[in-house]
């Protein structure tokens, strides 16, 4: 019973729903603020994403006549719940919280795919032609980035090191295990294979977040926000919150897997925050300096050079580089 209470606390308060939403909204403010600064504007006030969500929660829900209403309304909840769980597992491992390992990398990967899946199905359920276009584009994008992302994360699992004449490898998919291995042998990133893998993973997570140049699913200028087109009010707020939680999860996942966990000292926490912010600002700057590519170009990009680099990184990792 105590254990259940502990897990519920992790999931609902810290580092789950409450914390992830607050942090995600702060990060999405940072995203908009940096975007504004890049464009030489002032940008929104710090509370902006919060007010956006409160407003959406209070608005009317319009369910389109031709939609499958149950799926249309339920799927944003599914996506949000899965993203929050992924965030909980990631933060739990990164901070080394008590209660033992809750889940491993494979589980987190599956959970992170659920929000995209929920959006694909939700958009298809809306019955809107533009929603269907957005949905099919998102599906292609998921097919594109999941493969290189998995290979890149495998680099952290299989990377071999020689420490004091002994060959070491994490050889575990548990996030806690990866953190411990990096504590003992140094961060995955500090090897050539780690650098390549992180590069690939950053590009894939960029697409996962739906940022330009990989925002084909939500291209507001050509298909009117595509997958999101028919959503209004609270379901739209949930989709925005899902995005915020993903924004609070993916940079942390990358830093944890490739750059080690958090030391719970002031310096360690500051270093961790700096690493996460570095990844986040990289996302934002790439987003602001690139045009949207066509979906076939995106797919060719992910299955060509990105997967190629990921495979090279994996081979290097096994060779001990």
């Amino acid at each position: 019973m105590d254990r259940l209470g502990e897990w519920l606390f992790f999931y609902l308060v810290f580092p789950g729903a409450t914390f992830a939403v607050a942090l995600g909204l702060a990060m999405s403010w940072l995203d908009r603020k940096v975007t504004a600064l890049v464009q030489w504007r002032t940008g929104p006030a710090p509370g902006q994403p919060f007010w956006d969500v409160v407003k959406l929660l209070g608005k009317e829900v319009v369910v389109p006549e031709q939609s499958w209403a149950a799926g249309f309304l339920a799927l944003p909840f599914v996506g949000f719940a899965a993203a929050t769980l992924a965030g909980t597992l990631t933060w739990h491992a990164a901070l080394g919280l008590p209660g033992g390992a809750l889940g491993d990398l494979v589980l987190v990967l599956y959970l992170l795919a659920v929000p995209s899946l929920a959006l694909i199905l939700g958009a298809a359920a809306s019955g809107s032609p533009l929603g269907a276009v957005g949905s099919s584009r998102d599906m292609k994008l998921v097919l594109g980035y999941e493969l290189p992302l998995v290979i890149a994360l495998l680099v952290a699992v299989f990377q071999r090191r020689t420490v004091d004449g002994q060959v070491m490898a994490a050889a575990t998919s548990s996030l806690e295990g990866l953190v411990r291995f990096q504590d003992a042998a140094g961060a995955v990133l500090y090897r050539p294979s780690g650098v390549l893998a992180l590069l690939v993973a950053v590009v894939c997570c960029h697409a996962k977040l739906g940022f330009v140049p990989f925002d084909q699913a939500e291209a507001d200028t050509e298909i009117a926000e595509g997958a999101l087109i028919e959503y209004s009010g609270p379901p739209l707020a949930l989709l925005k919150l899902t995005q915020a939680v993903q924004l609070a999860t993916l940079p942390v996942l990358l830093v944890t897997v490739f750059w080690g966990g958090v030391e719970t000292t002031p310096v360690g926490l500051a270093a961790f925050a700096a690493k996460v912010l570095l990844v986040l600002v990289t996302f934002v700057l790439v987003k602001n300096t690139n045009p949207r590519v066509r979906i076939d170009q995106a797919l060719r990009f992910f299955w060509g050079p990105v997967t190629g680099i990921a495979v090279v990184a994996l081979v290097l990792a096994r060779m001990g580089w």
């Binding site: 908009r32 002032t42 940008g43 929104p44 407003k55 209070g58 009317e60 926000e225």
Partner: protein, 146 residues
């Protein structure tokens, strides 16, 4: 009457705008785009241009409503979730300006919207085209209406 509830405050801090050109001459559209530039930057007030009427709180209309645009305008209005309001930018949207009595127009936008929603609320921003400052002033006035 402006609401003081949390939702009312949130609504006034984050008005999302859907821009609908109802066969205008593009001059107002250029001034509307100006509002998003570094000099005016309406994102400071939480204003965002959105791509779908479903996400919008404010319908921004520019141009006289032509007969061909009458139905799309009414549909866009009905697609918006409540509470909603419309901002008429330019003298054409307000009262048809030089297109008054022309053969191809269906009427000023407020009349066209009132055909499907008699309770619709509007704020008028006249000018040919109105300055960005005027558009922002109209938007602020509209937020009081929401």
């Amino acid at each position: 009457m402006a609401s003081t509830s949390l939702f009312g405050r949130a609504l006034r801090r984050s008005p999302w705008v859907f821009h609908l050109g109802t066969s205008g001459c593009n001059n107002c559209d250029i001034e509307i785009a100006d509002c998003l530039t570094p000099r005016f930057d309406v994102e400071r007030f939480g204003v965002r241009l959105v791509g779908s009427p479903r996400h919008a709180d404010v319908l921004l209309i520019s141009g006289p409503v032509s007969i061909a645009c009458r139905k799309p305008l009414q549909e866009a209005w009905l697609e918006m979730p409540r509470p909603r309001a419309a901002l008429m930018v330019g003298v054409c949207a307000c009262s048809m300006g030089g297109y008054r009595d022309a053969y191809s127009v269906a009427g000023p936008a407020d009349k066209v919207i009132r055909e499907v929603d008699p309770d619709a609320r509007f704020v008028y921003v006249p000018g040919c085209p109105p300055k960005p400052e005027t558009i922002i002033a109209g938007l602020i006035k509209l937020l009081g209406e929401l």
